[in-house]
């Protein structure tokens, strides 16, 4: 197979509060022989909030990030669901609206850049499934996760709106019955656990504005996974990870029940199955202790 190469949009979280996500992304990419060119020029995508304040500015900044991926002639890979949504949404809107694209490009021209629309944008999870292949992952597993019940937590912004997701993910995941993360768990040798909240929201984006709502959603998600007998949860999104890993105290108070489970990034899960060390995967950077390693 031709060596896989992508432009990596890390987002901010991987550089700050989830350093383990950055570490495990690089460790897994190395194991799989995937080359990632980091877009060090990229700015924050605005995390679905900047556009509430200034939609046009948000478009310009995201278009700039994509323009750098285009200069490499590569597909952009994201490692955060919300980065994926914001970036893919920008691409979708600009590719469908020539006038808007021209307006954005007028601004980008001031710094010598142009958004062309030539790069695809996909989440690392979907890149692994679509381009690398789960069969090959299965072959490479050295430490199957067979003793674990693992609860997939998909995170809204990868699966919804499905129109956007279906534009890049060849598996055309249905947000009501997503399978990508379940399939990945199975490929790593684990047992996937089914529960109602797996494709629901964790509340992250309203944590400051609507703390009660956000805490109940987190509580419901972890409780759902616990009731389905999960040993731990896994997510492709560092924001979901932050919420589920660091906010279970508030969540427990909000739903009147103690909830807490270790939560792994999908990269950490793959890394474990492929034989990376816990240190390489940053498993010591979690607030809820990863108690099974």
């Amino acid at each position: 197979m031709k060596e896989l190469k992508y432009a990596l949009f890390t987002g901010c979280t991987a550089k700050e509060s989830t350093p383990e996500q950055m570490m495990s992304t690089l460790a897994v990419a190395k194991k799989l022989g995937i080359e990632l060119i980091e877009l060090t020029e990229a700015s924050c995508c605005g995390a679905s909030h900047l556009q509430d304040y200034d939609d046009f500015l948000s478009l310009v900044l995201n278009a700039r990030n994509i323009a750098y991926a285009e200069m490499h002639g590569l597909t952009m890979v994201t490692i955060c669901n919300t980065c994926q949504l914001n970036t893919a949404m920008t691409k979708h809107r600009l590719d469908q609206n020539a006038a808007l694209k021209a307006k954005v490009n007028e601004k980008l021209a001031e710094v010598g850049l142009e958004y062309k629309g030539t790069s695809l944008i996909t989440h690392f999870l979907y890149a692994i499934i679509d381009d690398f292949g789960l069969d090959k992952i299965k072959e490479m597993v050295v430490k199957p996760l067979s003793q674990f019940n693992i609860a997939p937590f998909y995170g809204c912004h990868n699966i919804r709106p499905s129109e956007l997701q279906n534009e890049t993910h060849k598996g055309h995941e249905n947000p009501y019955t997503p399978t990508s993360l379940d399939d990945l768990i199975i490929a790593c040798g684990g047992k996937n656990v089914d529960y109602v909240e797996k494709n629901k929201c964790c509340g992250f984006h309203a944590e400051l504005q609507a703390p009660h709502t956000a805490a109940v959603l987190t509580g419901n998600a972890v409780a759902g996974a616990m009731d389905a007998n999960a040993d731990w949860m896994v997510t492709p999104c560092p924001l979901c990870h932050l919420k589920l890993d660091t906010q279970t105290h508030h969540a427990s108070v909000a739903i009147g029940r103690d909830v807490s489970l270790p939560v792994l990034h999908m990269q950490q899960m793959i890394g474990l199955a492929l034989g990376c060390t816990p240190a390489e995967l940053g498993l010591n950077h979690h607030v809820t202790k990863v108690n099974f390693i």
Binding site: E16, E41, C156, P161, L208, V287
Partner: protein
Amino acid sequence: MDALTSQKVTFKVFRFNEETDYLPYYNTYTLDVTHEEVVLDILNRIKWDHDGSLSYRRSCRHGICGVCSIKVNGKAILACKSRLFDLVNVFGTELVIEPLSTKRAIKDLIIDKKDFWDKHAEVKPFLTGEIEETPQSEHLVSPHDAEKLLEADYCIQCGACHYSCPALAINEQFIGPAAFAAAYRFSADVRDESALERLHIVNEEASGVWDCVKCMECAEACPKDVNPIEKITKLHNMIFEANIAKNNVATRHAVGFAHSIAKHGLLDEGELVRYSEGNFGVLKHVPVALKMFTKGKIILPWNMPKSDKLDEIQKLIKSSSTVKF
């Protein structure tokens, strides 16, 4: 192989009579279903052939009146528009038929939609304007101006989004996606004169747009592609443009991104929380922050990473900003 033209599907149908039942129960029917049938055909067949007491709403059978909305395996659908074969493709051959909200069920699939209409009423869902008693001409809307509605006027008030919204399920004060879409629909209309009043209504804490968790469920649920979350974003923008955004945690949170990006290119997570909450409000986050700090999850200000070519980002922020706070 020829395309399948009929197959066996099992339906578990929610039953409940407010007047006689303490608890709901489910009746199960296995039927041969053809590729042409929609969910409403099945409900009719169950009612006509098996149990005349099954109750559900339907009227237009054309996806226009919005009354036949129910949930199948948790997905809100219009019974008269959703083909069985499409649903079987997604959920398999066991389908669970439930009302939009099991909590609000009155009889079987019929719910009390009062909360939905109350939310609508809150946002003044009608045009207001001074019109002469005997106008000399029609008040025409140009195609360009009509486009500003972004098809929010396609809403048939079916409630699919409303009863799929997790924020509303937890916070009863929340106005919710359908009424927000309506607030946008009338406020974006060139003939209307109540936009500012409506913006004040949707700008309140707890009930207003700020409590949306951005889960995109409403966009996915809507059978008319109204995309309520897009209208919610528009309402946010209109609030800032009208200069009525209050100085509170929600608005500062949105604005904080612009500040942070201007300074670092990236988001300064710690500073965003401090700026949003204020120096006093931020204190409640200290216990979690300390735990995060010991796990190497907090970057100290002097170590904050910066984007390469930050000057480009700063230049673009200067030239492309369209609002001020």
